[in-house]
């Protein structure tokens, strides 16, 4: 598919073709004109491991359910692999006994993925094999049963398994991202909260408004999103179940209702309110509506994020004169402790899945960039090199972060590995895309 061309010629002519790679559409014809989103890889990755993913037998090459193309796309997005261009694939083996490893050694591919799709009683059977090209050893094989509509999900699952077998880290390709898309020019803009597969495919509108929508947050079970909407001409926090579209306004107090963050057990939201004309942190019990105040400072206290054990909350405050990250007990009535001291601006902490570091926005030599802050060593490690990078969100496997950046005048999304070894940009062709948040693992993977 076009994906391989994107690798070969990431600029100029290749770009146009590359744009078709993640071409996806909204859930309905009525909204497709606005909700179209295309993501493409605009920047190569150094040190990526070459892998050949051969088109699967029993499939037409190049369709949206092209299993090999989905797998190759996922592996490419991870930043750790460089799938071979399809036109360079010297052979089309679909079963182990057809493989001549010397062919693949000549192509300098370290690994080889082959497979086939075949009808069976309950739908389709997808069988794949992963080989080490140097040794000829079969590293992994599996047969998964699915349907025509389930093929993409199955392909993501296969990519998860391959990624885990080769890196030791569970793949996060069967997950989703939520983000805010904005069309139109100020002051008339249209705001949409979207959810798409982690590779950008199949975006759906969760809610939309002519007033701002911001700060989406996944519930720990991945079933609901909390977000801020200004649709009533003032901010309010909503919780919406994705399966049904049912939603509930959980906070619409006078002043600001902002920055919702789910407790690890999913029963509470930490949030920001401005009851005295100033932003402070509170915890809202979703069942009882009970409110516990966490901070009372005349500074801006916002952007809460729970610790893994739910006992404390990380947040941004400018109580020391500029934005820095603090921690306070989640039970209320405790003094906050300052965590960050390097750089004049550290904001919007987001905890890594292992609970050991925070991703944050830092002011690095005059530019806003994504960094990690190690909670033990207190080291700050800048990961990105944009001018206005913001809203970092960890993939549930902790290996990669998605964040918002700017390309020219437009807001786009980008990914960076948590170790800072690579970044790659995803670009959209319509409007601004911002505030990406990565979903938790699906239940089967938790």
């Amino acid at each position: 598919m076009t994906f391989q061309r994107a690798l070969a010629r990431p600029k100029r002519k290749g770009l146009a073709r590359a744009l078709a790679w993640f071409f996806v559409l909204a859930g309905s014809l009525a909204t497709s004109a606005h909700a179209q989103l295309r993501l493409d890889i605009t920047q190569g990755v150094r040190d990526a491991v070459p892998i050949a993913v051969v088109p699967f037998g029993g499939q037409v090459e190049g369709g949206p359910n092209d299993v090999a193309a989905v797998i190759a796309g996922d592996l490419q997005l991870s930043g750790r692999f460089k799938p071979l261009e399809r036109r360079d694939l010297v052979a089309r083996p679909t079963r182990g006994e057809q493989v001549r490893f010397e062919d693949w050694r000549l192509l300098k591919s370290d690994f080889l993925v082959i497979g086939h799709v075949a009808p069976e009683a309950n739908g389709l059977a997808v069988e794949f094999e992963l080989f080490n090209v140097q040794t000829g050893q079969q590293l992994l094989t599996k047969r998964l049963v699915t349907s025509e509509r389930g093929l993409r999900a199955t392909a993501h699952r296969i990519a998860d398994l391959i990624f885990e077998r080769l890196t030791g880290i569970p793949g996060a390709f069967s997950t989703r991202i939520a983000y805010v898309a904005v069309d139109g020019r100020p002051p008339k803009q249209r705001y949409r909260l979207m959810v798409a597969d982690a590779d950008g495919y199949g975006p759906h509108i969760v809610t939309e408004s002519s007033e701002p929508i911001m700060s989406p947050a996944w519930s720990p079970d991945g079933q609901s999103l909390a977000y801020v909407s200004f649709e009533g001409k003032a901010s309010a926090i909503y919780v919406q179940r994705l399966a049904t579209g049912d939603r509930k306004r959980v906070s619409a107090r006078a002043g600001i209702n902002g920055a919702p963050a789910w407790s690890p057990d999913g029963r509470k939201l930490a949030l920001t309110l401005s009851r005295d004309g100033n932003l402070d942190l509170y915890v809202l019990d979703l069942a009882t509506q009970g409110l516990t105040r966490l901070t009372s400072d005349s500074a801006i206290d916002t952007e809460p994020e729970w610790s893994r054990d739910g006992a404390s909350v990380y947040f941004t405050s400018d109580r020391a004169g500029n934005a820095q990250v603090y921690r306070v007990g989640a039970g209320g009535g405790q003094e906050a402790q300052r965590l960050t001291f390097t750089n004049g601006y550290n904001a919007r902490p987001r905890l890594s899945p292992d609970g050991e570091s925070l991703a944050l926005v830092t002011l690095d030599r005059g530019a806003y960039r994504i960094a990690t802050y190690d909670l033990k060593t207190r080291n700050v490690h800048v990961l990105t090199d944009g001018r206005q990078d913001e809203a970092p969100s960890f993939a549930p496997n902790g290996a990669i972060l998605i964040y918002a950046t700017r390309a020219g005048a437009k807001g786009t999304l980008a990914m960076a590995s948590a170790d800072g070894r690579f970044q790659q940009r995803l670009s959209s062709d319509t409007g601004d895309v911002r505030e990406p948040v990565w979903s938790p693992f699906p239940p089967a993977q938790r």
Binding site: R149, S229, L279, E303
Partner: protein, 180 residues
Amino acid sequence: MKWTHAVAFALLAVGLAGCSKPKQVQPDTTAQAPVDGGAQTSGLGNETGPATGATAGAMSAAQQQALAALQSRNIVFFEFDSSEIRADYLSVVAAHAAYLTKFPTARVRLEGHTDERGSREYNIGLGERRAQTVRKALMLQGVAEAQITTVSYGEERPAVEGSDESAYAQNRRVELVQVQ
């Protein structure tokens, strides 16, 4: 060729979406009616100036005239990372204070905004701080607390597009929106 690929892709995507299961996200239609209504037809007026048209019926001629005079002077701009009212905008605040004290049934909505730099929720805080500064200044000049509401949009509703200092300067602002 690229285009036909794209169209084929699009059609397939639509086809898929058409036969999708209820696990997929539904657009929230219930939320939209009041939103559009509020934005397009209410008497709250637009976001950039006093609402002269919609509320004129309830007003005396004198008030209408005074309101019209505020029309072109309803934005206070700020320096980077500051919520101090610049000396050159004190007269804007004074003009609104004079109007609001003269017509005690009049209401003002203070909308705080920031430029796009920094994180979004933190910018909501900065926008609120700016709106509060203007609120306090109005109250010091005799405006009743009940006449004032504030909202912060942070960087979410820029006045102009752009990522340069000129755009930033136009976006760091409090809009004083006279409502009835």
